[in-house]
Symmetry: C2
Subunit: 208 residues, 2 copies
Amino acid sequence: MLCYPRGMPSEAKPYHHGNLRDALLDAAFRRVDADGADELNMRELARELGVSSAAPFRHFADKQVLLAAVAERAASLLGRALDEASERCDDALTQFRAMAVAYVRFTAEHPALFRLIHDSEGVSSGFVGEVSDERRAKLIALIIEGQNAGLIPDADPELIALTSEALTHGLARMIVDRHPRVRDLSSEDARKLALATTQLLQAGIGLS
Amino acid sequence: MLCYPRGMPSEAKPYHHGNLRDALLDAAFRRVDADGADELNMRELARELGVSSAAPFRHFADKQVLLAAVAERAASLLGRALDEASERCDDALTQFRAMAVAYVRFTAEHPALFRLIHDSEGVSSGFVGEVSDERRAKLIALIIEGQNAGLIPDADPELIALTSEALTHGLARMIVDRHPRVRDLSSEDARKLALATTQLLQAGIGLS
DNA sequence: GCCATATGTCAGCAGCGCTCACATCGAGGG
DNA sequence: CCCTCGATGTGAGCGCTGCTGACATATGGC
C-alpha cells in the first residue's frame, strides 16, 4: 500500500508512522499485560514507537480512553476463552465448570488484564459488557436446562447464577490479589482449584 | 500540653502543627474512603492541613507508605467488624454466615477501603495480615468443629475454607467492581445477598 | 495538480512526587 | 537559665507526567 524507500540511503524515517493507532494499542496492551495498568506511560509509549509525545493524543483523546480500548481488547480475549471452553461440553454442569476453569485460568495467566477489565468502572458498565450480558443469559439458560433435567435443585436461577459467578470471580480475584493460599499458582493448579471449588459448590457444604 | 495564644491578636498560626502525622493519616483515610486511593494527592493533602507540601514527607517516607498506613487502619476496621460479628453466634454454620455478612457489608459501605486493602500488594502480604492469618485459623477450626458435630461433610477443611472465602470475597468484589447485578446495593441488600448465597453454598447446587 | 483533512512535531503549561538547604521550635543538659 | 540539638516545618526547585495549541507534512478526493 504505502511504499517507503526500502533499502536505500539507510533509514529515512517517514514523517507518518502509517499505523500508529494499532501500534499504540498493541504496545499499550503488552505493557499492561506485563506490568499493570498504572505502569503505562503515554510519553514512554511514544518514545518506544519513535514518535513525539503528542502524537498518541491524535488517536486517543486521553490516557483513560487508551486504557478503555485495552480493556475492551482484554475483555474480548477473555470472552473468547469462555466461549471456547463452553463449546467443548454438552451437559449443563460440566459446561458451567469448564467456564469457571477458563475464567480462573485467564486471570492466573493475565492478572493485570483481569484487573484492568474490572477496575475500569468504564463508562459502559464497569464489568465490561463482553463478559456480562449475553454470556450471563447463557448461564441462566444453562441452569434452567439443568433444573429441567433434574440435575440442579429448584432454587431461583438468578440466585444460583449469582452464587456461581461470585465463587468463580472470588477465586479469580484471590489469585490476582495474591491471597496467601493461592499465590503464584500455575495455570494448571488454577484449573484444579477451580474444579475442586465448583464441585464443592455443587455438592454443598452443609447438610441442613 | 502546648499552649498557643488562643484568643488574642486573631490567628497566629503556630509554626509546628502539633500533631501532623495523625492529622495526615486521618485526612488521607477520609479521602481514600470517599474518593478512592488514586485521588489521594500529597500536595492537596498538605494544603488542606495548612502546611507546606514538603511537610508530609517528614512523617511518611513516600506516598506508598502513607497508603500502606491507611490500608492497615482499614484492615483493622474490617477485622473488628468480623470479630464482632462472629462473637454474637455460637454454632459453626451461623457463625460462618455472620462473618460473610459482615465482610460483604463492609465492602458495600467502604468499597474504596476494600480496594486499597487488597490492591496494595503490600510488602507484608498483599492480603493484609489482619484479615488473614489468625482469622483463617479460626475459620478452619470452625469447620472442623462443624464436621465433628455432623453439620459439615467430611471434605478437606482447607478446601472448604477456601471455597467459602472465595464465595464471600467474590460477592464483595462484585459489589466494588460494580457488577451490573449487584451495583449500588444498600448494605441491607448486601446482607440479604450474603445470606442467600452462603445458604446456597451450604445446600449445594448439584444433586450429583 | 490542488486543496481539505488526517496525522505528525515542537514548545510549553500546570500539577505531581520528592529532595535539599535552611528556619523554627521544644526539651533536656551544662 | 541559657544553649544546643533533634524533630518538625518552609521555600525553592528538579524531573517527570498528562495534555494543549500553533504549526508542519503527507495523502486522498476533486
